[in-house]
Symmetry: C2
Subunit: 355 residues, 2 copies
Amino acid sequence: MYEAITIKDIAKALGLSTSTVSRALRGSHEISSDTKKMVIEYAEQFNYRPNPIALSLKERRSRSIGVVVCEIANNFFSQAINGIESIAYNRGYHVIISQSHESYEREVVNVEHLASRSVDGLLVSLSTETEHIEHFKNLHDKGFPIVFFDRITDEIETHKVVVDNYKGAYDATQHLVDAGYKKIAHLASSAHLSISKERLNGYKAALAENGIPFNESYVKHCQHGGMIFTELEKAVKDLIHLKDRPDAIFSAGDRLTLSCLAVFKSAGIKVPDDIAIVGFSNSTMGDLMNPGLTAVNQPAFEMGQVATELLIKLIESKRAVTEFETVVLHTEIIVRDSSAKKAEVKSGKEKKVAG
Amino acid sequence: MYEAITIKDIAKALGLSTSTVSRALRGSHEISSDTKKMVIEYAEQFNYRPNPIALSLKERRSRSIGVVVCEIANNFFSQAINGIESIAYNRGYHVIISQSHESYEREVVNVEHLASRSVDGLLVSLSTETEHIEHFKNLHDKGFPIVFFDRITDEIETHKVVVDNYKGAYDATQHLVDAGYKKIAHLASSAHLSISKERLNGYKAALAENGIPFNESYVKHCQHGGMIFTELEKAVKDLIHLKDRPDAIFSAGDRLTLSCLAVFKSAGIKVPDDIAIVGFSNSTMGDLMNPGLTAVNQPAFEMGQVATELLIKLIESKRAVTEFETVVLHTEIIVRDSSAKKAEVKSGKEKKVAG
DNA sequence: TTTTTTTACGCAATCGATGCCGATAACGAT
DNA sequence: ATCGTTATCGGCATCGATTGCGTAAAAAAA
């Protein structure tokens, strides 16, 4: 099987002790330049690489960080992971990714698996199902470094990275109002998720600001964040079968938006003529869709970067950290065709052509 | 900082030796049932977990496998990774993902990083840029377990998992012919990629079968697999500005397809009326797009599963493996609207409307 | 009672790398 | 000639867990 050269092999071959070889390789001044040269040349010739596992055992750290997200097959998270990676690899850290698939149980299992000392810290975005966070609390209480991003919890005091969900939702809703829509529904993820609460508040605030009464039946939460299509399908169908059907939807996530559009499509609903839609997304896909998707854009890559920098700062801190910060990044609404201005006449004409 | 309980702590607390504790926890018959009970209860109370790093050092294996792909923000690969994960975690393996972003250099760096003994084996899908595979050959020659999937090489003899790219491409092209298209272009990834060659051959075979002459200028390769938009944009523009403009495109990958559609959109080209398109994809997105994307579907999840099973078989094999297998999975063409039947009259009318 | 066997456990080496000491030799200083 | 200093290197313990071997005491056989 595969055997790599060790420091011991070099020592034996060169008639030195392992300590001398070790020091020679690290360029210690205690070693004569002749010996150093000999050792380094031999090491290069046989392509010596220090065994990272032995180093981990010795240094009591693995130089790897764990990422706990719901899914990587999601543009927001894969971009965030790219950001995480970009920082981590430069700082000499491996990245180990685990997916909860929006399941609380799998999240718990993954966290335990990662934390049983094979990673030095955790970057976490909670699953939609997660209501109890004991599995993180236990670790955090022991001093294990954790940074939350996007879907955070206020029950644990540590570094956090979020976007201004309130403002993003406010902007999205305001944009729909400006475009002439008044019956604006809100399709949201699980109600106890931090991002859901904040976005709901932003949505409500924009409505209030414009004198539009809040309508409870216009808000639909999906406990599983869109992972279960039937759940989402029911939510969307409930909305479109409402007596006073909404003329616009503010959808709070990529998966929700995409599935919502799928339901629209099979129901023969045209966007934006029948119902306009604004998403909350990181997807560059908005551009490729037909019609283009208006969306509140989140700086996913940057969130990953900032979270990783904070985590590494925690990991490498000499003394226990007690001062934590919450970094809030800004969203930006990108207007495309899915929320085109509501024009009664034009809408009517097009419908005739389409029908 | 975070310190976990070790076998030594248990030994000290209970007045035993570490060997006794170790054996008690593993249920050895050499330990009295009283002692066993005592040790196990203590371990449970303090939530003892064996240090995986120490185990790795002792057993000379890390129980982790490395994945080398171009991107995770790609439906095909994220699905494949889900398949990989589903097998790996059940067998007690961690999964470490690295992305080359279609860069040869980054692929080399990632492979070296992973292989310097922190992973027990590698699952690889080559980057588009990769022409030389010395970085894999070196490892493979030393007996390091590697399994290739999707984008493979025939220069290394090991387990491989692919789909029937030839037949997939053949089916896609035949489908376009059946739908009435005759001027079928082919948008492909880097020319030296295994999948590119096979798909090109399938495309050619279908043309020949139908008595359609092969037209060199109808085939466009993208060295960077669509990672560089300008490169792809040029390829697509070359095609649509051809004197004898194609009426259909067989596109060999998700990223190519999406970017191609983006170019179409900005050029005001309607699908399928102006140009039909068939993709090669794993994307469920085909359903969500407007019009729906006809695509050759690849069983990405299953590919990941099979590749992982083969890799673990390699890793856990007692003696050196010399018999290798190449698993070929089947594709399936999913017909949607982007390749709707070409109707001369209707097409003429619509073109006038569009123009 | 003596010998043999079994039970139940500890010692020490091992995995690879590091780092604190201690050892040795050369060399200058006194 | 003796001592102190410096340069250079080896010995050993360490990180956490496993395991072959040795051994004391208890149990069984003689």
